[in-house]
Every structure is written in C-alpha cells, then in structure tokens.
C-alpha cells in the first residue's frame, strides 16, 4: 500500500475510496438500534456484496465494517460478538472479496482499509474517557485488524482532536501499516471540539500520518472551503470523502439528495481547484453509483501536485498559532526560576496557582504558554504531565513544554492535546539524539538553542553554524525544517556589552538566511542592571525589528506588551491599528496619571482608603476588613489583612475577630434567604484571600495553622458534577476545617482507603443525579463494611432527608452552610477527632 501511495503521488494519480455503508445495510435488514458490526458475523454476504459493488465501481480502497468496533460495544467475553471475532471477520470478509476481484482483474489495485471511528465517548477532562484508555481501546482493534491482514488504517469521522491523537498514536504503536486520518468539520469550519483545518493538519502531520482529510458531516459543495483550507495547510496527500449532501429526514427515513452526477461534478472542481487532493470517495448517502460516476469523471485527469506548506504551526485542542505570520508572545510565568511563589506552589502541589498564572497570561495577551515545572525536590515527570493536562483543560492556548528531563518531555508530549512547542534542543549531539526521536513520533515545533559541546559561540557565524548542524540532524530524522525555530540566546550586557548585539545580529541572520522563526528569552539581557525594564523594552523592540518571531516575556508587564502592540501597529501587522486602539484607547501615560493625581490631590485619598477608612452598611463592617469580606472584595481583603499583620495584630485574632464574625454575618444571611449563593461565595473567596496572607505569615513564623478537624469531600462514582462539592469545600475551608478533596467520579474504595489512611472521621458525599445516588449508597456501605469510624453527610440536587435515610447516611445537608453547621456540631460532639 505504501508503494501504491508513493506511486500515486509521483504519477499524480487519484486514489478512489469507497462510499456509504449505513443506508445499504439498512436496506438489507439492519434494524434501528442494531449494531452494524454484528453483520460481520451474522450477514457477511451483505458486506461482501457491497465491497464487490465498490470494487466494480472503481474504488481502490474498500473499508471494513469496523467503524464502531471497540471493546466498549463488543466486550472480549461476549458469547456472540466478542471484539476479536468482530474485527477479524470484518477484515476477512473484505479481503476475500478483494482477493477474488483482483484475481479476475489483475490490472486493478485495491486495498483493504481497517475502518476506525470515534469511540463514542468524549475524552477527559471534557468527558470521562482517559486518554491512555482511549489509546488502549484503539490499539486492541488495530492490532486485531493488522493481524487479520488489513492493508492500511483509515481513521475517520473524528470530531475531537484529542481522540484523533489517541487513535493515530495507537495505530503507529501497534503496526507499520500506512495511516490515513480524516476528520469531520461542521459548517462553521471547525471540529466539534473547536479545532480548525490548520491546527488539525499540523497535529496529523506531526504525528506522521500518510494522508489526511475530511469526511462526513457535509456534502461536497458545503465542504469546498474547508477542503481548500486543509489542502493549503497540508504537505501530504489530502482525502475528500463527503456525504451526498446534507441529510434530510422524511417519515423517519434519512435522505441524501445529491445525485451521482452532481456529486462527481463538484468533486471534480474540488480536485482540480486544490493542490494535494489525491484521495476521492464518499461517506453517508453515497452509493457505488456515486463512486462509479466519480471515477469515470476523473478518468484521464491528473491530480494537482502535492504542495508543501511552509508555515510553522503549533496547535491546542481548540486553536492554533502560526508563528511565521506575525510576531507572537510566549508567556514565561509558569517557571519556578527566580519566582518564589511559583516554586512554593510546585512544592505544595498547588495546581490552582499554576493555572491562575496561565489564565492571567492568556488574559494579558500571550499566544503560547511556556510550561516549566523543573525543581530538584519534586517529581518533575509527574508534575509536568499533570500541569499540561490541567492547563489544556482550562485554557485554549497552545503550550510550550519546557524541560531538560527527557522522561518528563515524552510524558508531556504524549498527553498533550495538539502539536506542542518544545523547549528545547541544542547543537549537542547527545541532546539531538534524545529529543528528535520524540519529535518524530509526537510532532512539535522545536526551539533550538544555538549552543553545542563547545558552548555558546560569541560570533554570529558561530551560532549560524550550529543552526545548520541542527537542521542537518532534523533532516536525518525526517523532521521538516519549518518545525525548527532558533533561540539566538540572550546574555546579559552587564558582563559583556557586545552580547546583545551578537544576539540581535543572529536573529536577523536567521530571518534572512533561513527564513526561519526565532525565539528569545528577552529579559535575560538586563540581568544585574538597575531599571531592567528600560533595557528589556529597548532590546525587545530591536529584536522585533530584526525579525524576532516570539519573545518569551511576561505578558503582565505593561511596558513589554506596549512595545509588542506598538510594534505590530507600526509595522502594519495590526490592520487599521484596531488591536492597538482596543488595548489603549481611553488610557493615559503613567506620567499623565501621576500629574493628574497630584493636581486633584486624590493620591492622599487613596492612601487614606488603603489604611481602612471605609465604613459599610453591616455591623461587622464597622471594621474595614469585616466590611470587605461581607462585600466580597477579594483584592482589598488581602491588602487589609497584610496591613493588620503589619500593625502586629495576632494572626489568630484576625481570624477570630474579623474573618469569622464577617463570615457568620454572611452565613446567617444566607440561611435567612437575605443573602444568596453568589454573594456567599464572593465573601468566601474574599475570606480565602485573607487566609492566604495569614497562612504565609504563620508559616514564616513557624506556627501551624489551627484545624477544626479533617473532612473528606467527594462527588461519587459515575458523577462528574462537582460544583456543589466545590462550594462545600470552600466554605468548610473558610471555617478552618482541613478538607481532603478527592474530586469527582470517585470510586468507593478510594474514599474508604483515604478515610482509613488519613484518619478522617467525617465524609461528605455529593451526587447530582438520581442514577448516582446508588453509588452514594455503595460508598456508605463500603465505609460501614470496612468499619471506618466515621459519619457521612450527603448532599446534592436530587437528595432529600428521605433519600439520605434510605441510603444510610448520618445526615442530609441541604446546602453548603448546613454542611458547615453539621461539621461544627460533629467535631464539638467528638473533640477527640479534631486532632486525629
């Protein structure tokens, strides 16, 4: 098959795929709700007949009936339809027909494609299917199909880039067959999970598929624009398998209206108007007749050549960034180097801090986030994998995986949803030999540092030589040069005043000689100097002017972002200066601000407010801090707490005299229905801000913060709704309980095991659905059976006292405040448990 594909590319010959299957099976007795793959065993003659019709029509590729074949639908131990039998019989059926046909028509080339569709489950974190589990499901099917003798793997109708990656990886890991992957775009030109053609092409080519394309969802006409975008973004053959138009259902029957002639006519336009389009076939509603007319229409026509797309693209599950279009910003904040708080967050396993940094960078205008979690005292591979996984669950920006630990690098590249940026390789042979195989396997744009075994050359030519060496090595691995971007290396000018000049000249040389993209860690330039902002902005501006693609900077730095946005505007990258206007209209320069403030005397007032001159409408808010908590002013709370501490107030007094009474006002208001959930939570978050400050203070003075008792909270197995549980957690923490949050979809045994190990005597369980109340009951039973000395309180939308009694819970808490009250009573009754 590989030879056939290469010959087709070389001779510019179209490859024809088969068409739809569903309608044919239905016409031959497939009942609604019946799994089509059961026909492989029960009605093989129907499938053989269809394969024969498609071969007669002129198809080169015939698909096996395995679209939905996986162990979730066909368990291994199913007496009638075990997965191995389903897949093996499917391949055998198609192969038998193909072999017979070729025997009669030796001039024809025909191949059996193992058809692979989506699992039907969305991957975590959006859904619940674990990425590696998805890989394993696909591996099972593909290795069965390969063993049975399929000629290629056709992954199709994929609407989620993460699942697509799982399927391609699986195929690559269990067989050497060619892999073709086609995806389903909606009319808006996006995957259902948000990806666009450019990002999809980058991902698939990075993973090393042999051809990519689009199928299903739309008819050939509606697909035209998408095929165009996909073909322009690709450097490999593109396959186009549309439906016979959009579906129309009448009296329960689905119709596709595009006739074979119209279908072929539009396909011909698609094939002749675009480069790279080599594979033509159909999907839902297309018949052997559609394929036959298509094959005839394309007779004697040559395919357009395969054009190479030279864009440097990184992608995420929902988006992509083209590096060579215009300069971009890589956020540098997720990196412990020189950042005390980030270091502490990593040591404390405080993922929230890391995620917050990422979101802030995104909000401030970063396009890609660098992720470096390297600290000697933590398990870097585990932490990096988690950070990448968590970040991609909450942020749509592509990520730059930054580590020197190759185990960590591979783990992160594997689970990354997209084509990542990789930081970094350099000219050292050992380094290239370690990293390039990973890039070959998973794909990625590689930041390449211009240094090697002999260190950092101090001349432009020296650095360019290393760039050439890196290119040559990438060539050897088959990594396209567009995926290599160079870091010209920034050294401080405080020790070598010519350092910046060499770097800037190297950036220019990289741009002009190679047309390549470049990256710089900009702020290194000013290390050891005063007013680093002045040097950094000037250097950044000069580097951009010399062609710098991506500055790795702090997007929260207003000065640096001002340079960036102004540069875009000045150089014509910002059409009609819209982005610049959007960012700066209505703002004034810092000097002007100061001048105005001095004139109006408002500086003094600010100062007054900061020391707490405000009076609120609640009793407790006679004190500024209490008022701020009641009103939920998070930012103010941190500041006011710091001020109180600075005045030598005992941290515990702050808790008891300010925070707790303020929270009580809000809590009682909530219980009396005068304050509602969002306000309660705003106050809770504000109080949290106070606790953060206090905790830091206590830590530095070596005092342990006082706990009122340990509580486990968890959303039970099968339930992925965790908002209620999260609310309970925040409030319990507010009231100084030590909360162990086990997350959502938590199996009973994990709760039992944690309660025993951590000696927890109060367990809070949450469930949102009637169906998962059963899991709640199972969990309570498991706790009782294991004789865990604990009480269980339950809550959630569908629960009530009656249910709670029925499943053997000790208490039903209708909301978060009640849970707090219950916990208070519980630990009052059992003071021996508090310090357990």
């Amino acid at each position: 098959m590989k030879t056939f594909l290469n010959e087709a590319i070389k001779n510019r010959e179209f490859i024809f795929f088969d068409g739809g299957m569903g309608t044919y099976l239905q016409a031959n007795g497939l009942e609604p709700g019946q799994l089509p793959e059961t026909f492989n065993i029960d009605r093989p003659e129907v499938l053989k007949e269809l394969a024969h019709l498609y071969l007669e029509a002129g198809a080169n590729i015939v698909n096996t009936n395995t679209f939905g074949a996986n162990r979730m639908k066909f368990p291994k131990d199913d007496p009638k339809y075990p997965i191995d039998k389903i897949v093996t019989s499917a391949v055998n059926n198609t192969k038998e027909v193909r072999d017979a046909y070729i025997k009669e028509h030796p001039e024809r080339k025909a191949f059996v494609a193992l058809d692979i569709g989506p699992t039907g489950k969305l991957l975590a974190p959006m859904g619940t299917l674990d990425f590696e589990e998805a890989v394993s499901i696909y591996k099972e099917v593909i290795s069965l199909g390969a063993k049975a003798g399929a000629d290629l793997v056709l992954i199709e109708t994929m609407s989620d880039s993460y699942e697509l990656k799982a399927a391609v990886l699986a195929a690559k890991e269990v067989c050497d067959l060619p892999v073709i992957a086609t995806v389903i775009f909606s009319e808006n030109g996006k995957l259902l999970t948000g990806g666009e053609p450019k990002g999809v092409a980058a991902l698939l080519e990075g993973l090393g598929v042999d051809a990519l394309g689009v199928n299903c969802g739309l008819g050939p006409k509606e697909m035209k624009g998408i095929v165009h975008d996909l073909a322009e973004a690709s450097s490999i053959p593109v396959v186009v398998n549309p439906n016979a138009g959009l579906p129309r259902v009448e009296n329960g029957i689905t119709y596709y209206d595009v006739t074979p002639d119209d279908f072929a006519a539009t396909m011909k336009e698609i094939a002749t108007e675009n480069t790279n389009v080599l594979g033509l076939g159909g999907c839902c509603g297309t018949t052997p007749e559609h394929i036959e007319v298509l094959v005839t229409a394309m007779k004697n026509l040559k395919a357009n050549p395969i054009a190479v797309c030279n864009d440097t693209v990184v992608s995420s599950g929902m988006g992509h960034v083209v590096l060579n279009e215009r300069p971009i910003v890589i956020g540098e904040r997720i990196n412990p180097t020189g950042k005390k708080k980030m270091k502490q967050a990593l040591v404390d396993d405080d993922m929230e801090y890391i995620l917050n940094e990422g979101v802030t960078e995104e909000e401030n205008g970063a396009h890609i986030l660098d992720v470096n979690v390297g600290l000697p005292e933590i398990d870097e591979p585990a932490m990096l994998k988690r950070a990448i996984y968590e970040l991609q669950g909450i942020c749509a920006l592509p990520l730059q995986i930054d580590t020197t630990d190759m185990v960590a690098m591979e783990g992160a590249m594997r689970i990354y949803n997209g084509k990542p940026m990789i930081n970094s390789v350099n000219g050292k042979q050992e380094m290239m030999d370690a990293l390039f195989p990973l890039v070959k396997k998973y794909g990625g744009v590689v930041v390449s540092l211009l240094l090697d075994e002999d260190g950092i050359p101090d001349s432009v030519e020296g650095r360019i030589k290393i760039a050439e060496k890196i290119y040559e090595n990438a060539d050897k691995w088959g990594i396209p040069r567009k995926d290599i971007v160079f870091d010209a290396l920034v050294m401080t000018i405080s020790t070598d005043s010519s350092a910046a000049k060499v770097t800037l000249d190297t950036v220019r040389e990289i741009t002009e000689r190679f047309g390549a993209c470049s990256v710089l860690g900009v702020s290194n330039v000013s290390f050891g100097l005063p007013r680093r902002d002045l040097i950094n902005t000037t250097f950044y501006s000069a580097a951009l002017n010399n062609g710098l693609t991506a500055g790795i900077i702090n997007p929260s730095s207003k000065a640096m972002m001002a340079v960036y946005r102004s540069f875009l505007a000045v150089k014509g990258y910002d059409e009609q200066c819209l982005e610049f206007i959007d960012a700066y209209a209505g703002t004034v320069s810092a000097e002007m601000q100061l001048k105005k403030a001095l004139e109006s005397g408002s500086l003094g007032e600010n100062a007054k407010e900061a020391t707490g001159g405000e009076s609120g409408s609640f009793d407790i808010s006679k004190t500024p801090l209490g008022g701020a908590i009641v009103k939920g002013l998070k930012d103010k709370c941190g500041k006011l707490t710091e001020e109180l501490l600075a005045k030598q107030t005992d941290p515990l007094d702050i808790i008891n005299e300010y925070i707790v009474p303020a929270l009580d006002v809000v809590g009682q208001g909530f219980e009396k229905n005068t304050i509602f959930l969002p306000q309660l939570l705003m106050s809770a978050e504000a109080a949290q801000a106070c606790f953060e400050v206090i905790k830091t203070e206590l830590k530095s003075s070596g005092v342990e913060s006082e706990s009122k008792g340990k509580v486990i909270v968890a959303t039970v197995k099968g339930d992925i709704h965790d908002i209620g549980k999260n609310i309970v957690k925040v409030l319990l923490e507010n009231y100084s309980f030590d909360v162990i949050d086990l997350g959502k979809d938590v199996p009973p045994e994990v709760i039992v095991e944690t309660a025993l190990r951590e000696k927890v005597h109060l367990v809070g369980l949450s469930a949102l659905m009637t169906t998962t109340v059963v899991s709640m009951e199972d969990t309570i039973k498991a706790l009782r059976e294991a004789k865990v000395p604990c009480e269980v309180c339950v809550g959630g939308a569908v629960l009530n006292q009656e249910y709670a009694d029925m499943i053997g819970a000790d208490a039903y808490c209708k909301d978060a405040m009640q849970t707090v009250r219950f916990a208070e009573e519980f630990f009052e009754k059992h003071p021996e448990y508090v310090s357990d």
Binding site: V249, E250, N251, V359, C395, A684, E685, M769
Partner: protein, 224 residues
C-alpha cells in the same frame, strides 16, 4: 406535516436575566448586588463569545401503542422511531398527533470555561453555570417562539418543552433520544461513561408536542 430534520445555528435572542438569577440561587424578587452583577455581565459576555450554539429539530409523528381493546394508549408511544413509556410525557402530549424532538448544545468551549472557573474561582463557577444554563434555555425559548409563529397559520401551537429527567420520563431516555436525533454527528453530544449525563455539559434535549392552538396548557404539568 412533513417530517424532516432541521439544523439551527446562531439566531438572535436575549438571555432572561431573571431566570439566570434563579439558577444562581436567588429567590423571590431578590437581585444580585453590584459586585455579583458585574461578574454576571462578564459571564454573559464570555458565554456569548465562546459558545458555538447549535440545535436540531426533528419533526416526528407520534404513534401510540394500542391496548388490548385496540385503543391508543396515552403512556406508551413512539415519537418517530423514539419509543417511550411515560405517563407524564404522555399527558404532556395528550391530543398531539405530532411532536418535535429538539436538541441543542453550547459546545465544548463552554465546558473549558466551566472547568476553568470550577478550579479557580468558585463564585464565577456558579455564575457561569447559571449563565450557560440560562443562555441555552433562552435559545430554546427563541426556537419555540419561531416554531410557534410558523405553526400558527395552521391553527397549531406547541406544548411546553419536556425533557428527559422530568417525572417518569427519566434520564434513561437520554441515550435513545440522542440516537433518535443523531446527536453525536449533528451536535457532537455524547453521554459520559456509564451515565446519562450529556457531554458537552451544557446541552439540552426536549420534546415539544405540536397541539391545536388554545390547548397549549392541556395536561402540561398536571399530577406530575
């Protein structure tokens, strides 16, 4: 009646703030204070920008199963190919010959936001949930208004929407419902493993009975 499937994309509609407040936990006539209102405005903006709202309408004939006397049963019937045994839905559809199966989703990008705030900002997490829910309900309200307008020249109207999870029309029906509207392909909705929860989470399925004008409220919520 022609029984066909219609796909819908973005249509102009206004979110119902009162409904949003109720979803967020406000009772009676209580309204959020300034701080919460500002957050709600942010949420509405974010949902508007991030969502790729879409829906599908499948117009179906209702076929009622006959009882032993040969009379149509109210509680066992098929809406198109979608087989249902439910007293409550049966009551809602009393007198209707046809019904529309409707599905809609805000797309996974909203889940990304929900996921984000669930981890980082609990207040906004609650408000985002409420906003997204109010947003998709408002979308369905608008669809309902449009369909009603279309039906009115024929003297027809719609019963209130009835979703899996109401009374004895349990969430067990979610799976066959999604299959009936081919929601995986059309809307990208699937069920989370071993459950009846939809992914993307901000998705809705509902039955809208087509009834004679003036009988919109017949059997609607009676005795449920």
């Amino acid at each position: 009646m022609t029984y066909e499937t219609e796909r819908l994309g973005k249509i102009p509609f206004e979110i119902n703030r009162r409904e949003l407040y109720i979803y967020a936990g406000y009772r009676g006539n209580a309204t959020p204070d300034e701080g919460v209102l500002a957050l709600i405005d942010e949420c509405i903006e974010e949902v508007k920008t991030a969502s790729e709202i879409r829906g599908i309408l499948k117009w179906c004939k209702i076929t009622r199963t006959l009882d032993e006397k040969g009379l149509p049963r109210d509680d066992v019937f098929s809406i198109g190919d979608f087989y249902v045994e439910s007293e409550a839905l049966g009551k809602n559809l009393k007198g209707c010959e046809d019904a529309i199966l409707v599905g809609a989703t805000l797309s996974p990008s909203i889940d990304l936001l929900l996921h984000r705030y669930a981890k980082l900002q609990i207040t906004k997490s609650v408000l985002m949930q409420a906003t997204a829910a109010a947003y998709i309900e408002a979308y369905l309200d608008e669809i309902q208004r449009i369909v009603k307008k279309r039906l009115s020249p024929e003297g027809l109207s719609l019963r209130p929407r009835f979703s899996p999870g109401f009374a004895d029309f349990t969430t067990e029906y979610q799976k066959p419902f999604l299959e009936a509207i081919d929601a995986g392909r059309n809307l990208g909705i699937s069920l989370a493993n071993d459950s009846n929860m939809m992914v993307p989470s901000k998705s809705v399925t509902a039955v809208m009975g087509i009834c004679k004008a003036g009988t919109e409220a017949v059997g609607a919520y009676e005795n449920i």
